[in-house]
Symmetry: C2
Subunit: 426 residues, 2 copies
């Protein structure tokens, strides 16, 4: 029964070196978030199908993997064939994000949670996307959310914790792009865009990076938004130096059009920036974020070497109410773990990540295990090999096995500090 | 849109205290297994449906959650209605164990793995069982497997690591029940049971604990196995003192019938026991284990307070070959994490698990965060509360939030060692 054996399309196995690297990065993120006062929770990977398809997931709903009802009868199948509705055969689905499950979790357990609830969720989600480089059908998200705080302290806590996590991972050069849905609403209002077109107009503006001001202007025109000067305004939005200006000087900031100064949302962003000294935050009035549920601040992690965002989030004050029956303010920030971990491919702080310890015959096994435990706890993948005459052949083999470095261990050098790592040629 | 909001049937949310307790226990198990030389891997939660239903999963195959193909057409639905085969609409399924995915993983990555591969898998599995106390539809298994070693060193490593993990968790009183499928085959052979009835006879013998020797004998008779004296032999098997006897004395062991002494498998078990001084191992010739793929040693974790097993495993030498095309010896041990973690409900080593730190106003935030980080890293759930006049009301509230203990923090007591924890009344 030999056969081609691979994981399902678009999904990945993780071998020991990669698994250790991922778990180490996750433990760094988890540790920072816990230190920042967030508490980790977990929900099942599946939610009721009706909940996943309630309109809160945007385009992701179409990408949900559906789980079939058990014990389907021929009559059930015939009814589905009749209606053409395949989803009628599913009662569950795999979550496509961690936000819909969090809203459901909060509604379920409201009475047992503190008034301001700071949640960590570090878990896989699934989307049946067309597989392509850097896109997977199973991938991990790292979310923090604050429920029950109308802001701006919630935004500050989320931004501070996220930047601290990126720092702890050793990921340099990240910047936070910041905007507010109310500012976008102000722009659309100034163009006279009617309410029922705003969502589609935002989706179009979101393409500014890709199709440029003229492309966006043309697409808006097809929606009936053909006010003259839109392309010029978009060009101004996209190209102007929209940094918020010197701390405390926003009212006098020359790059800011006078109309902004009347917007409460703009002043909220300035206050946010002023409360984050040393944090790389940029105001970007063209930032949209795809999800329809955002109601206020929105943010994204940008990295100079990459055109895509490394994570993002925002305020979604009406969503919890969909499950709970009354409104509760909420704000969240999600790190796109797969993209982050790819950027960490080179060992952090120059320390090798997967090492072979080539030990002499006379080193006590107990001392080797203690040493291994210590190195493993620091995030390394460790393998022992007994020293052999043909050391070159041994090192070639472990290089092929994906190890980064090796160190000799003698009876005199059994503590981690005295190990001397040597690079293995790639 | 207020509605009843619960997780899907038979699945659970984990609130912060429970999540922290679980993650702490998992990190203990992970640490012990890594220290014992095993390497963690990960596979996707889904496998191809045909692979999950290839006959290797036993009864669990019937319990697999099926994932529907995307883009099903009315014609597809009509064809399924015609054939009555609902599974024809599924191309993927959620794994029901970690053994089938491991066999597939090994076949996929054989060339990149060492000759003897020691794998850790700590991950959820899904079974659509009827929900009942202690049984869930999503639950975590902790598996270690050794592929490429024909034994008995593999068995020794698995048993040693598993017992070490149970010890590290502070779970006292566990014993390992040990048997070998070849011994069971010997018993069936002595009864003249034909090959095609052996699997069903084993399933019947597996019920010995529940229906007793007479019940098993009666059920065997319905299979056509009605040799006189079967019930008496079963009674002898079930009641005799089957401990393997004093170390090194197996040949003279009075409780062992002379026929055993000719069985190679029996001597293998004695050698195994003799190599595990201080490990609580019992020989139990009536131990069957449900899965059809076991070929040699089988083991289970028993606890005196519980009728059910806390985990188990065994040797499955033919399974990898199903995917690979040639045979590779393999042996594994799986801890039933949900049952273990329930037994750990009381804090290990008397240390409280979820604590509130009631701090004075003048304690520096940086010191509090350092303290929290240290306590969180040790597996605790930690919340800060500033000291208020009505301390009783504060403590009542955090007790209701599920915290176990509290400690005052003053500017003089900001290191973990100087904290004095006080129990919170339940």
């Amino acid at each position: 029964m030999a056969q081609t054996v691979t994981p399902p399309r678009g999904m990945r196995d993780f071998l020991p070196a990669e698994k250790a690297r991922r778990e180490h990065a996750l433990s760094v993120i988890r540790g920072v978030y816990a230190a920042h006062g967030f508490d980790e929770i977990e929900t099942p990977v599946m939610e009721d199908s009706s909940r996943l398809h309630a309109g809160l997931g945007g385009d992701n709903e179409k990408l949900a993997f559906a789980v079939m009802k058990r014990g389907l009868t021929p009559d059930d199948l015939a009814a589905a064939a009749e209606s053409g509705d395949a989803l009628s055969l599913a009662d569950l689905g795999l979550r496509y994000d961690l936000t819909v499950p969090l809203a459901r979790f909060y509604a379920t357990h409201r009475a047992a949670l503190p008034p301001v609830f700071r949640a960590i969720q570090i878990a896989p989600v699934w989307r049946a996307e067309r597989p392509q480089k850097g896109r997977y059908r199973q991938f991990v998200q790292c979310d923090i959310d604050i429920i029950g705080d109308a802001g701006p302290l919630a935004e500050l806590e989320l931004l501070t914790a996220t930047v601290a996590a990126l720092d702890a991972l050793g990921l340099e050069g990240c910047r936070i792009r910041l905007n507010d849905r109310r500012i976008l609403a102000g722009i659309l209002g100034s163009w006279g865009v009617p309410d029922d077109l705003r969502e589609r107009a935002l989706i179009t503006i979101d393409k500014l990076d890709k199709i440029g001001p003229d492309g966006v202007s043309a697409e808006l025109a097809t929606l009936g938004i053909d006010r003259p000067g839109v392309a010029d305004e978009l060009r101004q939005l996209a190209n102007a130096d929209w940094h918020l200006g010197d701390r405390g000087s926003s009212r006098a900031e020359p790059g800011v059009p006078p109309a902004w100064l009347d917007l409460e949302a703009f002043h909220d962003l300035v206050a946010l920036r002023d409360a984050l000294p040393g944090t790389p935050v940029d105001f970007d009035p063209t930032l949209v974020r795809g999800m329809g549920y955002y109601t206020g601040t929105i943010f994204e992690i940008a990295h100079p070497d990459h055109g895509y965002s490394l994570g993002g989030g925002g305020r979604y004050d009406h969503m919890i109410g969909r499950f709970l029956g009354h409104e509760v303010p909420a704000c969240g920030f999600s790190i796109g773990f797969e993209r982050i971990v790819d950027l960490l491919a080179v060992g952090d702080e120059g320390q090798p990540r997967s090492v072979v310890l080539v030990h002499d015959r006379d080193v006590a096994p107990g001392e080797l295990l203690t040493l291994k435990h210590e190195l493993v706890a620091s995030g390394m993948r460790v393998r022992f090999e007994r020293r052999v005459k043909n050391l070159r052949a041994l090192l070639d083999r472990v290089t092929a096995d994906g190890f980064d470095a090796w160190a000799p261990v003698t009876a005199e050098t059994t503590d981690a500090a005295s190990l001397e790592f040597r690079d293995l040629a790639a």
